[in-house]
């Protein structure tokens, strides 16, 4: 039944994706459909909870069916014909097939890892899984639990997309299937890889795109099983890259779908909320303030949760009383933050050297072309740093337990720009590479 619950969600995701952006290449459609599909259960269960309808397989499926039918009607209004599945094998070369086969080996290896057992992360047991399990027992969002001061450790303010996705699978399984939650993280990785692969192929051709995808795939599959990092990486990467495509090709559909995915990022983690702001700043400064209107789904999607959490007084720990005092003190003396960051590892040195070298070689023209993505990532990193300036926690502790993880949230986007520009320089392909 878990397979059925996911298949139904992915089908609805495909219908919604196609209704919004019918002209996308096959790989992008497939990837975006997976990501949208994994976001719909939160919308359905959230709406049922708001309406006071207890969750069950039937009510959940009914809600999903309404979304699916709305998508079909939307597609008919846009006079989209019957669904024709494009050939995924078009234009393949032996080299691209070889690279894609290696990517498949890596993804399968990740699947073996993810499906080895229960999510092993502490934050799964104390935050993401705990809330999902509480809601599953309550057959709804348990605000009594979230509001109880003893449960502050579970970060009641965090957006609920992932716990509700756990609940979705559990409703159909009839029990708590945590042994199989790894499959969700494989799907998030596949979704991100699909979108990235499709966009790279448009810009670089099949062989270079396949090589670039191989390089980017390990960044798409987060090792933090059970936590919201994997979903956030997938939504952030796919969302921003579709905005980039929408600006480059002047297509409203891509902008709408990209904004929808950013809205799902904002429904996944608080960092997703700041990413919406970062994307808006980058969009306004690179593509014009008028295009901000297309970001409306990114604002509308997380809005209900923002209102509800305010209503229930579920505040974030970062804004605990004295935030402005802490900010002022640490701006005056940022030494502790700098020392904490300097003493904390943030990934693999070889990778970062390669990334820096690629951006150096890229030159000003490429950097100008990529200013939407690079600008959004830069603003997002400022938000990350800002969190350390206001945190009520011990700075060294906070940095140690978060820095590498949050840096990784944006790494795939940076690597996309770096790998794309390096391969463009190397093989000279410039197909449709006029983003930004």
């Amino acid at each position: 039944m878990i397979g059925f619950s996911l298949a139904a969600a992915l089908l609805a995701g495909f219908l919604v994706t196609r209704a919004i952006a019918p002209a996308l290449p096959a790989a992008i459609t497939a990837g975006a459909s997976v990501l949208v599909g994994l976001g719909l259960p939160a919308a359905v269960l959230g709406a049922l909870a708001a309406a006071g309808v207890p969750w069950s397989g039937a009510t959940a499926l009914g809600g999903l069916a309404i979304i699916g039918m709305a998508a079909v009607l939307g597609a008919r209004r846009r006079r989209l014909g019957a669904v024709t599945l494009p050939r995924l094998t078009a234009g393949r070369t032996p080299l691209s097939i070889a690279f894609d086969a290696l990517t498949a080996v890596v993804l399968s290896g990740y699947a073996l890892f993810a499906l080895s057992g229960h999510p092993p992360e502490t934050d799964y047991v104390t935050i993401w899984g705990l809330k999902g399990l509480r809601f599953f027992h309550a057959r709804g969002i348990d605000f009594e639990f979230l509001s109880q001061r003893w449960n502050a450790f579970s970060h009641p303010d965090y957006p609920l997309l992932l716990p509700l996705l756990y609940d979705w699978t559990a409703l159909f399984a009839g029990s708590w299937p945590d042994r199989w939650f790894g499959a969700l993280f494989v799907l998030f990785g596949l979704g991100a890889v699909g979108v990235v692969r499709g966009i790279l192929e448009e810009e670089l051709g099949p062989a270079s795109a396949a090589a670039a995808t191989l390089a980017l795939t390990p960044l798409a599959v987060a090792p933090y099983l059970g936590l919201a990092e994997g979903p956030l990486i997938a939504y952030a990467t796919a969302g921003l890259l579709l905005l980039r495509r929408g600006v480059a090709c002047a297509t409203r559909d891509d902008l709408t779908l990209g904004a929808l995915l950013l809205g799902l990022a904002a429904s996944t983690k608080n960092e997703g909320l700041t990413l919406v702001l970062a994307a808006a700043v980058a969009m306004a400064s690179t593509a014009g303030a008028r295009r901000l209107l297309y970001l409306w789904p990114a604002l509308v999607l997380p809005l209900p949760w923002l209102l509800v959490r305010r209503l229930h007084g579920l505040s974030t720990d970062l804004t605990a009383s004295g935030a402005f005092t802490r900010l002022a003190e640490r701006i005056a003396d940022p030494g502790e933050i700098i020392r904490a960051i300097a003493s904390t590892p943030f990934g693999k040195p070889l990778f970062w050297v390669g990334l820096a070298l690629a951006l150096l070689v890229a030159g000003p023209a490429t950097l100008r072309r990529e200013r939407l993505v690079l600008g959004a990532v830069a603003v997002q990193y400022l938000f990350y740093l800002g969190a350390y300036f206001v945190t009520p926690h011990d700075i060294q502790w906070h940095v140690t337990w978060s820095w590498e993880r949050i840096v990784n949230q944006m790494t795939m986007l940076l690597a996309f720009v770096a790998v794309g520009s390096a391969l463009r320089e190397l093989v000279g392909s410039s197909r449709n590479a006029s983003a930004g």
């Binding site: 390089a215 693999k348 390096a422």
Partner: protein
């Protein structure tokens, strides 16, 4: 080959090799059943036997009951926080309430609200409670008739 092309090739190679996760290849040769067992124990490893103790508490209690958690020694940083924030997951459906505040205060009012005290690593039974299950890691204490 221009210097730019060579540098671009080097950059791509560094990103590919540097970012590659060899674990996703090595895992094909791993004992995944053992890995699964490690996954299961990982979040609980600092309090030996605590996971099984909670499963025993779960078996001895009903949904909706309030379970207060006692962990010897009663020290917030010495294990209480570690156990308290994890207990709710395996005791889902029950309300887990703390008996210790982060500042070290014993929250005796909470014990008055508890149907059950899950007592990890302790052997004594407080007044008003009866031991209904004894496990290698501790006792499950149920409130006696008032």
């Amino acid at each position: 080959v221009s210097i730019r092309k060579a540098a671009a090739g080097l950059a791509f190679a560094l990103i590919l090799i540097g970012g590659f996760e060899t674990y996703y290849l090595r895992i094909y040769l791993h004992d995944r059943a053992a890995l699964g067992r490690t996954f299961e124990e990982l979040p609980w490893r600092k309090l030996p036997g605590f996971r099984q103790f909670l499963l025993d508490v779960r078996a001895a209690t009903r949904e909706g009951e309030a379970i207060a958690l006692w962990i010897e020694p009663m020290s917030w940083m010495g294990g209480y926080e570690y156990g308290y924030v994890r207990a709710g997951y395996l005791l889902a459906g029950r309300d887990v309430i703390p008996l210790l505040a982060p500042d070290g205060r014993i929250l005796s009012a909470n014990s008055a609200a508890a149907d059950v005290i899950a007592c990890y690593r302790c052997a004594t039974v407080p007044a008003g409670f009866l031991a209904v299950r004894s496990t290698p890691a501790g006792l499950v204490l149920r409130r006696g008739p008032r």
